[in-house]
């Protein structure tokens, strides 16, 4: 058969069969038992030419409401942010995206150096000493943090704040089940982790306390107050953090975190219906050898030149098999590259400026909503999200916002029984004053 991805010609096929000493390709499959041999072809859609397939799939894509066409006020862990255009140009270089894990360092210095730089940037932003080369996403990264903590402390209980992303908490529970680790949820108090409850719940079997900073409601948890409670009990202080927020907030590493995880999606990575994004995993030096996944380290070659290699591999599945610190193999290398390019473009000044813009525009939104008579559910310090109480169901409000070209916020009632008619609104630097005003106006119009 002729296909643009398949260079085999009938002459090639004949010559190769002759070399092998057989008559037909079928003979190569003679070892498949007759009883399980699949006859004929799959019952799937027939092949399409390049142009008819792109036409079909662009029509399919056009059925979706995207954040280029609509002004999005939806966050809840995934955000519409400024993506420097060069990000896509860099990650489209096929030397990067058609390579695999850099097992052969002599011909993979580009990828290895890029990862080393990523590790440095995450380390800088989080204030942690060590960062790995990436994880699947923020949720699985938090789950792996729980496993690390349980292994390190030989304790079997994790306390996770209800102000942590509900889907991340779900993933933590799934992983904990495999390890027979108990997961208990710390209740909320005014949109924050209830510290009195935490003090009650924490004990000498607690491996980790998990706090999100800023939390799922956009509120900035006071890590300074939490840290002594955690460490007094000998647990690992585990913080899940939006790395963009750390452009403006004191980083967890400076506030006593043992493990900081999160998702680098805000840095140049498209929403993509929830993935692929880019988990990160950062720890104190004391936990370096417990880290899951790939680590890149600096070394020298035979001539003393600086070079980079995958290192501390004795932690990993391909060496340690059932004794490995994690089963992770492929991570999110290309998205870590995307995040690196975005962090480089934003740089020292831009990261802070972007973070401050998020806080500032969200503040403006909050003031406008208040002025329009809305009640803000939690009035503490926020990053780029706030929760507003609504009179009508969020789903209905979002339907009318969509009519006006806007994607509304997240319906908190979907994840919290006590928060029916509460909308979690995200305001990134991408939203203009005009869009925010239009949003408030439309909300007000339904606010009778």
């Amino acid at each position: 058969m002729k296909h643009r991805y398949l260079p085999m010609t009938p002459q090639d096929e004949k010559a190769m069969l002759d070399t092998i000493g057989i008559q037909s390709i079928d003979e190569l499959f003679a070892d498949i038992p007759e009883k399980v041999r699949f006859k004929g072809e799959y019952n799937i859609k027939p092949a399409k030419s390049e142009s008819s397939l792109t036409k079909e799939l662009s029509q399919l894509a056009a059925k979706n409401a995207d954040s280029n066409t609509y002004a999005s006020f939806l966050g809840a862990g995934v955000y519409d942010h400024y993506k420097p255009i060069i990000v896509d140009h860099v990650i489209s270089r096929s030397e990067f995206y058609t390579a695999y894990t850099p097992y052969q360092p002599e011909i993979s210095q580009g990828e290895l150096q890029a990862i080393f730089e990523f590790q440095t940037m995450i380390s800088e932003l989080t204030g942690m000493e060590i960062a790995n080369s990436s994880m699947y996403d923020g949720g699985t990264s938090l789950a792996e943090a729980g496993m690390l903590a349980a292994g390190h402390t030989s304790r079997k209980k994790i306390l996770v704040s209800r102000a942590v992303h509900p889907e991340s908490r779900d993933v933590v529970r799934s992983y904990a089940l495999g390890q027979s680790i108990a997961v208990e949820e710390i209740p909320l108090k005014d949109g924050h982790t209830d510290l009195d409850a935490l003090k009650e719940m924490i004990d000498d079997n607690t491996a980790a306390v998990m706090i999100q900073y800023p939390n799922f409601f956009g509120q900035v948890e006071n890590l300074k107050e939490i840290e002594p409670i955690v460490h007094e009990a000998g647990a690992l202080f585990t913080v899940s953090s939006n790395p963009l927020a750390l452009g403006a907030l004191t980083p967890p590493g400076k506030l006593g975190a043992d493990i900081t995880v999160g998702d680098a999606q805000p840095f140049g990575i498209p929403e993509a219906f929830g993935g692929p994004h880019c988990g990160y995993f950062a720890v104190t030096k004391a936990l370096m050898r417990k880290v899951p996944g790939r680590l890149v380290g600096e070394t020298t070659d035979e001539d003393g030149r600086r070079g980079f290699v995958l290192t501390l591999q004795a932690r990993e599945q391909h060496i340690r098999r059932d004794k490995a610190t994690s089963n992770i193999c492929s991570n999110q290398a290309l998205n870590a590259l995307a995040a690196s390019v975005a962090m480089t473009a934003l740089g020292k000044e831009g990261t802070k400026e972007m973070a401050v813009q998020n806080i500032t525009k969200t503040y403006y939104m909050k003031q406008q909503l208040k002025a329009a008579g809305f009640e803000i559910a939690f009035d503490g310090a926020h990053f780029n999200e706030i929760v507003v109480k609504t009179d009508s169901p969020v789903k209905e409000l979002n339907a009318s916002l969509l009519q006006k070209g806007m994607i509304g916020g997240y319906d908190l009632g979907l994840s919290y029984d006590e928060f029916d008619n509460h909308m979690l609104i995200a305001v990134t630097e991408q939203r203009t004053k005009e869009e925010i005003d239009a949003f408030v106006q439309e909300m007000g119009a339904t606010h009778a």
């Binding site: 058969m1 092998i20 390709i25 070892d31 038992p33 072809e41 799959y42 859609k45 092949a47 390049e50 397939l53 792109t54 662009s58 894509a61 979706n64 409401a65 954040s67 995934v78 400024y82 060069i86 990067f96 995206y97 058609t98 390579a99 097992y103 360092p105 730089e117 590790q119 440095t120 940037m121 996403d137 923020g138 699985t140 496993m147 799934s174 495999g178 993509a272 219906f273 692929p276 370096m288 600096e298 070394t299 990993e316 599945q317 391909h318 059932d322 490995a324 994690s326 089963n327 992770i328 193999c329 290398a333 998205n335 480089t344 740089g347 831009g350 972007m354 813009q357 969509l402 994607i407």
Partner: protein, 487 residues
Amino acid sequence: MHKDNQPLIFEMTKEGRVGYSLPELDVPEIDLAELLPEGLVRDEAADLPEVSELDIMRHYTALSKRNHGVDSGFYPLGSCTMKYNPKINESVARYSGFANIHPLQDESTVQGAMELMYDLQEHLKEITGMDEVTLQPAAGAHGEWTGLMMIRAFHEANGDTKRTKVIVPDSAHGTNPASATVAGFETVTVKSNEHGLVDLEDLKRVVGEDTAALMLTNPNTLGLFEEQILEMAAIIHEVGGKLYYDGANLNAVMSKARPGDMGFDVVHLNLHKTFTGPHGGGGPGSGPVGVNKDLLPYLPKPILVKKDGVFAFDYDRPQSIGRVKPFYGNFGINVRAYTYIRSMGPDGLKAVTEYAVLNANYMMRRLQEHFDLPYDRHCKHEFVLSGRRQKKLGVRTLDMAKRLLDFGYHPPTIYFPLNVEEGMMIEPTETESKETLDAFIDAMIQIAREVEENPEIVQDAPHTTVIKRLDETKAARKPVLRYHKAE
């Protein structure tokens, strides 16, 4: 490749330079200190680079030149299926209606994305012969763990709590035992026989009432088809265990044998391998999992359903193992895989497997007189040579791998599987031409000759790369895992 070292981006930084263009701040400024609690306003900026846009582009272009991908040259890395990554996939995944949609949007606004996911699941069901597929796992190892958690839930639902062991062959991928551990199982190893296949007698010896599952790759990591798969399935099922298919090698059997028909209960696929992901320098991947009817209730939630032509996520799954990942999987990779499958069609996928297997057997036959071939029979999509003949002459497989770099090739997977001495695992894939294979074979033959006539040139390789062999011991002994500004 460029010989000059490329400085770190941090070493190119100059105070005051910027590489960004943020939206205008069109609302009143505020004082952070008034808004945030004391001590939570960052006082020392993260020391990120300060460079211009051109600096960035030149830096990463230079790095890319120091990297070898499939588009740079032949990449016969066994078990990784380094086939051509079609460019249409990249274009489609970037359509705004796929790239710029939020996972928590109202379902009515993302029906196109859900339709694509649904249709991909339908295609994967037919390809694997399984009853249902979830797209949630992010990569192969993640799929393994997901599958094992479902097996665990199945046994527990039957009150069968003594099944603590997962059996893996000695030739298995390292992720198999690691995933078993993460899922809370103990790993038991089953030996291979002299033909490189699972030793049935040993399997009978290790199975029992404590067997939760057997994890198997078929063809196995030697590239050999486990001919006694039905007998193995019977042994496992007879004791009440489940059979797990590691789909890393699916490229070898498409349209030839489906895991579901071979008796497998759970299957994971690596969409970045067989279905042209791409590999991305180490991810993102995608690791969908297929199950048969027994395991349906335990699928991660939500599952995607279609009712009266409308797609919806169903969260009402009381026996589900829960979520394994936020949202619905690596959608962007799934878009690429779907585009690939639709580009190939049924006849295309069949040809993929046939040519992948033909290419591997051709290479194996041309190379077998120059290297040891531990298992002399038709292989599937890959084969494993041994460098023990060369080792006797003082040249190790590692040396030969490094020498291949001088010829512009990515070497095969080396020292794996563990049951072959000085192993070299070669997987050409179907997208390589006979000319490419011949040139690589010639290079291998030349290296075999060099080992006999001039071993130093191999032992000292590589000679042409941007850097020579690196001191890995030093890297591990005194780990430097980030850049620090010189004091």
